[in-house]
């Protein structure tokens, strides 16, 4: 990566084809541009003031000349459009067997989380040759996940999930940038993607210790943030029972009933007095601002795991 490179390393399955498309486009532009420059220079020299080139005869059938160079260049560039169309569609549809990694962008750092629960800051370890699907959200402003070596980029929006996928084809460490301006340290929001052989990747995962799964982290949070104080089995406060809540219909104080899906669980944590359960007082404090995006996710995963009463994960790991 030192010295003057003309291209970043080719390190993902889509990179070679994107480079081919890029150089085809550059070649196409060069041909048309050089054609025009050469014509300008030729005409400028040939018909300069005082030169004795013959100026007789007006320029002939302008219409056919106009139409010909218009449609020829348009056809060439439509070819470029069609080729890039297929690549763009491919970039937008992750393969079915891709492994999911969950990314949270926060003002000026990247938080990555593997399905097994391993968490990293500003780095992402991925296995070589396996398609990875990154599901990303932001906690504050718009960021953008960009790895030049993989030629992939996707904005990360608050309040919504966006996805990006790649298959690393070369081992090594590649820089990760945030390319959507996000404030003071936008330039510091840099990380690295470490591509390892699958065996090393598995070994690395194990070396991270056996981190608790999402649901177990949620259970720990359930106690540490005081949720069990009200919603626990022997709580003194009169609060809605959470066991088996997920997927059940909930009767609200304004008479309507909603299905307790993830969105309902998430809203009830962050904005509790939005949907108050019938027969309960609106005394639950809001946790908006105190819980990070992935902590809310862990709590939701824990509440979902309470749906099946027999394997009660409430016990500490």
């Amino acid at each position: 990566m030192n010295g003057l490179h003309l291209m970043p390393p080719v390190a993902s399955s889509v990179a070679p084809r994107l480079d081919a498309l890029f150089w085809f486009a550059v070649a196409l532009c060069a041909v048309v541009a050089l054609g025009v420059f050469a014509t300008i220079v030729f005409l400028a020299v040939r018909y300069r003031r005082g030169s004795n080139a013959s100026r007789a005869g007006g320029s002939g059938r302008t219409l056919t000349i106009e139409l010909s160079w218009t449609f020829v260049s348009f056809a060439l560039f439509i070819a470029l459009f069609l080729w890039s169309l297929f690549l763009f569609t491919e970039l937008h549809t992750p393969p079915r067997d891709a492994q999911t990694i969950y990314i949270v962008a926060k003002q000026w750092m990247w938080k990555t989380q593997h399905p097994g629960g391993q968490r990293e800051i500003n780095t992402l370890h991925v296995p070589l040759g396996k398609p990875m699907r990154l599901i990303m959200t932001s906690q504050d402003v718009i960021h953008s996940f960009y790895v030049p070596a993989f030629r992939v980029k996707q904005d990360v929006l608050p309040g919504r999930y966006t996805q990006l996928w790649f298959t690393a084809t070369r081992a090594g460490t590649f820089p990760l940038f945030c390319t959507q301006y996000c404030g003071l340290d936008h330039a510091q929001m840099i990380g690295s993607v470490v591509v390892m052989a699958p065996a090393d990747y598995a070994h690395w995962l194990r070396r991270q210790g056996t981190p608790s799964t999402l649901a177990q982290t949620g259970a720990a949070l359930f106690r540490s943030r005081g949720c069990s104080g009200c919603h626990g089995t022997n709580a003194a406060v009169h609060a809605p029972e959470l066991h088996g809540l997920f997927g059940r219909a909930v009767h609200l104080s304004d008479g309507s009933t909603v299905i307790a899906d993830e969105r309902y669980l998430r809203d009830s944590i962050m904005l509790p007095n939005l949907q108050i359960v019938a027969g309960f007082a609106p005394i639950m404090p809001s946790f908006a601002g105190q819980l990070d995006e992935d902590e809310v996710l862990a709590l939701v995963a824990y509440l979902k795991s309470l749906a099946t009463p027999e394997q009660d994960l409430g016990a500490s790991p």
């Binding site: 609200l252 104080s253 304004d254 309507s256 909603v258 309902y264 809203d267 904005l271 007095n273 939005l274 949907q275 108050i276």
Partner: protein
């Protein structure tokens, strides 16, 4: 274009600016200029209508629930007020063309009065919504699964009706000023371009409300 010297000579006294050839060219330019300005106003409000359409596509139920919070009766009265004021301003212009200055003053005066009446009615609506805690940013406390969509609706509601009321205020004040000048005889059958353009502006304000009214007040009323 007649020779520059003679053109300068016969201008100035009957309100034709010296860079126009004759009265019809000046009136034509003024009217066309006003219509171009109206096109910009359509796009100025267009942004709000585009945002409304997109937010409503994203949250149909929320917008239906929110629309029921608005006051249909007051909204309808306000529409009637604006439609009648549009008619009155045209009658005022007609009276001016027939050189009936007193009738023109009365008609234009009542147009301005109806304009201010519209604003007063809007004031009542805003006050009622304030008591029902429906003003985002000031005090907004709603419950239910659609609460955020209702707040989104009311952000749009205040942006749309706020900017529209601002235009009604500008229009009504302009017409009030014209009423005074008409009363003093500043305009007559041969010179009423300014009144004409203000009437055009008033019609635009009326047309914008013709679209705002159904989009804000009429959705979600059925059943």
């Amino acid at each position: 274009m007649s020779d520059a010297a003679t053109v300068a000579a016969d201008h100035g006294h009957d309100g034709i600016e010296e860079h126009f050839d004759d009265a019809s060219q000046q009136r034509e330019a003024a009217a066309f200029g006003m219509w171009v300005f109206l096109a910009t106003e359509i796009l100025f409000f267009g942004v709000l209508f585009a945002s409304y359409t997109i937010c409503r596509v994203l949250y149909p139920q929320g917008f239906a629930v929110a629309s029921r919070h608005t006051d249909l009766v007051l909204g309808t009265i306000e529409t009637v007020v604006l439609l009648t004021s549009s008619t009155l301003v045209m009658l005022g212009l007609r009276a001016l063309q027939l050189d009936r200055r007193r009738a023109a003053t009365a008609l234009l005066g009542s147009t301005a009065a109806l304009g201010f009446a519209f604003l007063v009615l809007h004031g009542f609506e805003y006050y009622r919504e304030y008591t029902e805690r429906l003003i985002p940013g000031l005090n907004f406390h709603q419950e239910g699964p659609q609460a955020r969509a209702v707040e989104l609706f009311f952000c749009l509601y205040y942006a749309i009706t706020g900017f529209h009321s601002l235009h009604v205020l500008i229009g009504a004040t302009l017409i009030l000023i014209l009423t005074v000048r008409v009363a003093r005889g500043a305009f007559g059958p041969r010179r009423h371009t300014t009144v004409e353009l203000t009437a055009l502006y008033w019609h635009l304000v009326d047309i914008v409300w013709l679209f705002v009214f159904p989009l804000i007040y009429l959705i979600g009323r059925a059943g």
